[in-house]
Amino acid sequence: MNVSYKWLNEYIDLNGYTGEALAELMTSGGIEIDVVESRNKGVSGVVVGRVVTREKHPDADKLSVCTVDVGGSEPLQIVCGAKNVAAGQLVPVATVGAKLPGDFAIKRAKLRGVESQGMICSAKEIGLNEKLLPKEQQEGILVLPEGMTVGQSILDVLGIDDEVLELDLTPNRSDCLSMLGVAYEVGALTGREVKLPDNQVSDTTELASEHLSVQIEAVEQCSHYAARYIKGVVIGPSPQWMQNRLMAAGIRPISNVVDITNFVMLEYGQPLHAFDADKVNHGRIVVRLAREGEVIVTLDDQERKLEPHTLVITDGEKPIALAGVMGGANSEVNESTVNILLESARFDGGTVRKTSRQIGLRSESSIRFEKGVDPARVVPALDRAAALIAKYADGLVLEGVVQEVASAPEEKEIYVSLDKINRYLGTELSKLEVQTLFGRLQFSFELSLDGVFKVQVPSRRGDITRDVDLIEEVARLYGYDNIPTTPIEGAATPGALTKPQAIRRELRKRLTDAGLNEVISYSFTHPDRTRLFPALNGSVVPIRLSLPMSEDRSVLRTSLLPQLLETATYNRNRKIEDLSLFEIGSVFHTEETELTRLPQEKHRLAVLLTGSRTSTQWNRKSSPVDFYDVKGVLETVGEVLGISGLISYVAAQPEDMHPGRTAAIVLETERGPETIGYVGQVHPALQLEHDLQDVYVLEIELAPLYDAANFDIAYKSLPRYPAMQRDIAVVLNREIEVGKVIDAVRETAGELLESVNVFDIYTGEKLGAEKKSVALSLVYRHDARTLTDEEVTELHGRVVAKLEQSFAAELRK
């Protein structure tokens, strides 16, 4: 809503407040003012002038030499380049010394040898918004309507010396979609009186009801329909002052009748519609829902198919308007219109909204119906418009408002006690203070002896329905700044993170400490991306947004890795090739093709390593990352969460992963072993597709880790007896997994084996292509005594024998 300062001043005295000060006051009261814009873009010294003569310029085809009367002793000689300039016109004249927008000063000048004592201006040159002008005023110089005094300042006659406040209204304050509403608000803030406009209709004897009938069939969608009949109007332009007001509000003037309906809509917030009464069959108005297959051609010449939920105004036969949205072409007011049927009604907001959405048209009218109009203003606004039409379109307003009220709003009485107000706000307001505030809002009230206010809320404030709404009114007028600052009373509460929250924090800390950077990706992705790494998705169906912004962001991600790969490619394209990244986030799984319940949201951790482990520096060489780096990340996580003993790695060949360099991550749970993710190298083909070198990744489900994580530290006393270390190197077939060998060592050596460490793996020609040598270091120790050489030798011998027997291992000497 754009509010002209000067216009507002007609309903409430703004003396003492500049536009800026008013904006600040209103903003602090809860009506945010985005900008205060001056309508004057830098015009001074421009006056109304009459073109007395117009001659062709002797030396230039496109120029005219005019004499223009600007009220001085002599007419001015002005050279003008506009095609439309003609003798007899009233025009804006920038005299010598005048200023135009852009700090453009008018000087005496010679144009092709002819002296020019000023400039005849176009609308644009005096800073008017051309879009708000009628077509004929947009081209060439601005021709002003008759009735203006020569010599008068253009700022006055066009109302340019004004400021416009742009209100950024919250949805609850639709009462301020009207000048009167804003006036009441300013009245509440300043304590000043609101002056209502004159809506007195002069008496006639001819009854409107003889020409007009109103019937509401759709009582749910239309609670009140009122109409007046105005005879013998003369369609023409509206007075300049009204046009100025409309333009200040951002509405283009059209003709007196249409302008008056718009003007009154802005004044009262009540949309009005004028029908050409002679095009309405028998003057009959029937408000009903559209019938299957009905169509209407609207004012913009579009044929609209009507839906059964569309509310229409009909003349008993055919639709003549889309209620609250747009009139029909078949009943349009035009230059030949003589009799007017003027509508003022209350249509249901939801119904209007549906229709306006459906036809893609939101108008000043539909916006107001959507937010709800004040039932108490339906008839006053109708009267005001009728009075203005009588005055400015020479109409005769017939006696009586013809109306049907399907349902009248109930009187709203709300109770709120002084005690509750103070308890709710933490204030110590007195009865008198609260009384004063309600008084300024013009809410009438009764106050009981025990301090309970019974407040009658005026219907213009549809947003106030319960006690807390009144408390808000008190609070905002009292000033939020004046409410004290207190600590919460009551016992202290312990704050803490839950176990999953603490684990995610710890993961972030450990992983960043290890040099990984955390990323956050979009939850929306391309459907193709959800087809990657199917092993991470199970049997899920990607969830599609019903109206995605682009195909690229049309489905919910089902795993984290595809976007982590995208991120790697993004960085590689910027020559960043060494990357260690991780993301902790949710993926969305469902097996339903059409969601009927919420999908599963699974917290996951994904890691991506590519390039070098460390960069080359003077004291070390760079070395590429490998499988064991990414596996090591997970092993560290396992240790930190106290679950390393529960995790095992099983060689696996999931799609899109390198078949020889990938493991399923298996967690031992109460339900048995569960695969909770994969770790390995991305399949070379997919790497190539992403233009990446070797990429090592893992993605893992976090919920099982939340369950399994064990933060207890079981302290073991430090060893008191010496350990004995025995190294062993065996040659094995290459495909034998060292993990199995270690398991066998542990099993055979039993409790006395403190640790086993793989300290070397060797392959080479000497051994043959199918063989590898594995070197293990075993540490034996007894808790309670020193081990003897004999018993360790005996035990170690059994370990060696076991390896020879189970893995056909050959002991290397």
Binding site: T27, S174, L425, T493, T512, I520, S546, L547, R574, L598
Partner: protein, 349 residues
């Protein structure tokens, strides 16, 4: 006896002369053996003491000891000089260029949005709040209806949403977690939670808008929660987050789920309220929305608004991160350029 004495004195002179000329530790050791060793010159002379009388022996013994002590003193002195020189040489040889770069510990960075979120979480955990979480895909009921936004409510225009079906959508705010929390509390008080998380709104991406962003909301419910408590809490938060001198300013506003409602400005941390580019020369930064929980919302959450009251507040993590770090484009948060991410290594201040 005199002869022995003379020999001893001569030995002393010879030894001291010779020692004076010694230039390296090896030679010094040789001389020690030569004069003081088991088969050395001194022992050799003293061996002749057997031929002396009982009176003479102590006298010669005394002289012998003096000579030994004198030689030993010089050797020791020499030794210490040699040692010092050797140490100096070694240290000189071991000298390195301390200006060469060191081998740093690896150090990655938490994503700036999570860094800010964690900082906010820590503040509220310190104030006795717990952290509640909820699904990012929500029902219309939890996201809107239970928050006093029925289907045709005009305020739904404020946030265009990503629907999946008619009833299921990407949450547009973290407020549904408030309802879920209330229902889980089953009417018990006090409730003191914050709800961080991702939210989604249909918005064309540009430097200041992102269709995906993060919010943190807070909810407090108790038998006598006042608007002044809300102000107190927010002031406390602002001062912990933005510094002791931070001030807050509340402006009346509208949210369907609170009444009264307010927008909260925090005095600009950069200029302290003087006015600068960051605060668009107003001295204030709009950071939060808040209000007293609407009675309808309390009812939906299973509370009797006549028995309890509450307040709620919410803030955008991106906005705070943009302001805090002076980042010029919100899209950087989701592009994940390593050169961007790497800048957030520093610990929380």
């Amino acid at each position: 006896m005199d002869e022995m004495k003379e020999r001893l004195e001569a030995l002393r002179t010879e030894a001291l002369n010779e020692l004076e000329l010694v230039g390296d530790p090896q030679k010094l050791n040789d001389l020690r053996v030569k004069y003081l060793g088991k088969k050395g010159a001194l022992t050799e002379i003293l061996r002749g003491m057997g031929a002396l009388s009982a009176e003479e022996r102590p006298v010669i013994g005394q002289v012998g000891n003096e000579v030994r002590a004198a030689i030993e003193a010089v050797i020791e002195e020499k030794q210490s000089v040699f040692q010092q020189a050797e140490t100096e040489n070694r240290l000189r040889a071991e000298t390195i260029d301390v200006t060469l770069p060191g081998s740093k510990l690896p150090a990655g960075a938490v994503h700036p949005l999570n860094k800010v979120a964690q900082e906010i979480e820590d503040i509220f955990v310190g104030l006795g709040y717990t952290i509640a979480e909820g699904p990012e895909v929500e029902t219309d009921y939890f996201n809107f209806e239970a928050l006093n936004l029925p289907k045709d409510h005009p305020a739904r225009d404020m946030q265009d949403s990503f629907y999946i079906t008619d009833d299921i959508l990407m949450r547009t705010q973290t407020s549904p977690v408030q309802i879920r929390t209330m229902k889980a509390m089953n009417g018990k008080t006090p409730v003191k939670v914050i709800c961080p998380g991702k939210v989604y709104r249909r918005d064309d991406d540009d430097a200041t808008h992102s269709f995906q962003f993060n919010q943190i909301e807070g909810l407090v419910i108790g038998p006598n929660i006042r608007m002044s408590d809300l102000k107190g809490t927010l002031l406390q938060f602002a001062q912990l987050m933005f510094g002791k001198q931070a001030q807050i300013r509340l402006r009346p506003s509208f949210f369907p789920f609170t009444e009264p409602s307010a927008e909260v400005d925090i005095s600009c941390a950069q200029c302290g309220g003087e006015g600068c580019r960051m605060c668009k020369h107003t001295g204030w930064l709009e950071i939060l929305g808040c209000g007293m929980v609407h009675p309808r919302v309390l009812e939906m959450g299973g509370y009797d608004p006549n028995e309890v009251s509450g307040f709620a507040f919410g803030m955008g993590v991106e906005r705070i991160a943009l302001l805090k770090y002076g980042i010029d484009d919100i899209r950087h948060f989701y592009t994940n350029d390593a050169r961007f991410l790497g800048q957030f290594v520093r610990m929380q201040g």
